[in-house]
Amino acid sequence: MIEMQGVYKTYPNGVTALNGIDVMIEQGEFVYVVGPSGAGKSTFIKLIFREEKPSKGSINVNNKDLLTMKWKDVPYLRRDIGVVFQDFKLLPNFTVYENVAFALEVIEESPKAMRKRVMEVLDQVGLKNKARFIPDELSGGEQQRVAIARAIVNHPSLLIADEPTGNLDPDTSWEIMRILEEINASGTTIIMATHSKEIVNTIKKRVIAIEDGLIARDEHRGEYGYEI
């Protein structure tokens, strides 16, 4: 599903974020990416959905070579990858319904199937009765659930979450984790960068620790391993 070999990334300002990453993630896995701030977690995540290009090495996602991929093909890669961020990244002037439906409009889904599918995912994240609200009228946890609904609405094979609980209180965080586990149980691969020791140590999954641009640890059912 995801395969990286000897991946290096140096930004134009000279900062080296990744120093030779080799990793293999199979379909259906749930992977935490942990590590100190500035160690390269975000860069690692961004490489997967082609927000950044590596300086050296090879990346394959869903059997697509991201190095030779052309700009015009990037949108099609992203349609099979759901993304969730710490700051939600919802369209502020769109209602909850419109935010989620946008991902389906992009793939030119029929209006009837679109309505059905959007209400289905909103039900899944427990926001069916808030479809007409705009993001500003919702709490942080609710906004993150909208973002998740949008990420999974067109059945992606991979869901990437960059510190999805970073801005949320503990109760809301557990709620988000429950939804992510459900999505994973239905076969979607999940890659989640996080700073939450409690979550990593309670819901045991594969843990990839990135330090100084290198994979320091890669354990199944691993621990968070850092003191905050």
């Binding site: 949108p75 992203r78 993304v83 990244k89 409009e105 030119e108």
Partner: protein, 297 residues
């Protein structure tokens, strides 16, 4: 692209007008202000041009044939004039007709001239019009060289001053219009820059969800077009009403019959269409330019 997606883009573009209400008001305001100015200058320029054309059309050359010429020679002169390529029409006027014209143009005083009917001192004449009035002078020179021509008149100085004035008026009008359109573009792109940060984030989010550049650009295109069209409503109303009053009042002063404005219909409607098209193009241009920068994400 499926047809329903095209419909979706138009719907989204229209919704954006409401969603970004402050930007809508600011952009429509900028378009309105400039289009009123552009419209007023267009009306002025088209009318100046019209008046100039009218005056130029009236320019004609009169070639007087020698009094001694016989019928065959008069005929030969006519043929020679006809052979000049820039000439559009040649009309022969006998000396009797010339006298009648003279008598008529003098009014009551002209009656004195009627005495000459028995012994007409005037020449037979050819009245010539040029295809392009600007060639009048060169045609006159060529006619002068033809045998049996006594004299050629076309009001040299008046005609040349008229041409100079017309040319100047046209150039100034054109320069003003171009200047105004650039001002409009500058104003509108500035207005759009104000909201660019919010839009930058939006476009980035759309790209994350897998939208292609075309998919993102379409609603912006529609939105810009609608902004331009909305911005041209007030200018069209102002210009049409204003022109209606002006043309009514000018035709009241019949003594200035050399100032003949373009008729209200269809001119007012043609100008409205031009304003609408300029408005829509400015809107589309401003909107599409503002998106372009953020599509490479």
């Amino acid at each position: 692209m499926k047809f329903r997606t095209l419909k979706r883009h138009f719907r989204e573009g229209a919704k954006n007008i409401l969603r970004n209400s402050w930007m809508t008001i600011a952009s429509v305001g900028a378009v309105t202000t400039t289009l009123i100015l552009v419209g007023a200058f267009l009306v002025l320029m088209f009318n100046l041009n019209h008046i100039a054309d009218k005056l130029e059309e009236d320019v004609q050359i009169k070639a007087l044939v020698d009094l001694t010429a016989d019928d065959a020679e008069i005929e030969a002169v006519g043929e020679a004039i006809n052979k000049i390529p820039e000439v559009s029409s040649v009309e022969f006027s006998t000396k009797e007709e010339e006298l009648a014209d003279l008598v008529k143009s003098m009014g009551e005083e002209g009656e004195v001239w009627e005495l000459y009917e028995q012994d007409n001192p005037l020449n037979h004449a050819y009245i010539i019009k040029a295809t392009d009035p600007l060639d009048t002078e060169s045609i006159a020179k060529k006619i002068k060289k033809i045998d049996n021509i006594e004299n050629v008149t076309f009001g040299q100085e008046a005609v040349q001053n008229l041409f100079k004035f017309n040319q100047l008026a046209r150039n100034i009008g054109l320069a003003l219009i171009i200047g105004l359109i650039f001002t409009a573009i500058f104003l509108i792109s500035n207005t759009i820059k104000i909201t660019i940060m919010a839009r930058k984030r939006e476009i980035g989010i759309m790209k994350l969800v897998g939208a292609t550049n075309g998919f993102i650009r379409w609603p912006f295109f529609v939105e810009g077009m609608l902004l331009g069209v909305l911005g041209s409503i007030v200018p069209i109303a102002v210009i049409v009403t204003g022109y209606y009053y002006i043309s009514e009042n000018v035709s009241a002063f019949k003594q200035f019959n050399f100032v003949e404005l373009l008729p209200f219909s269809p001119f007012a409607w043609q100008i409205s269409l031009i304003i609408l098209l300029i408005g829509a193009s400015i809107g589309v241009w401003g909107s599409v330019m503002s998106v372009r920068k953020f599509l490479k994400v």
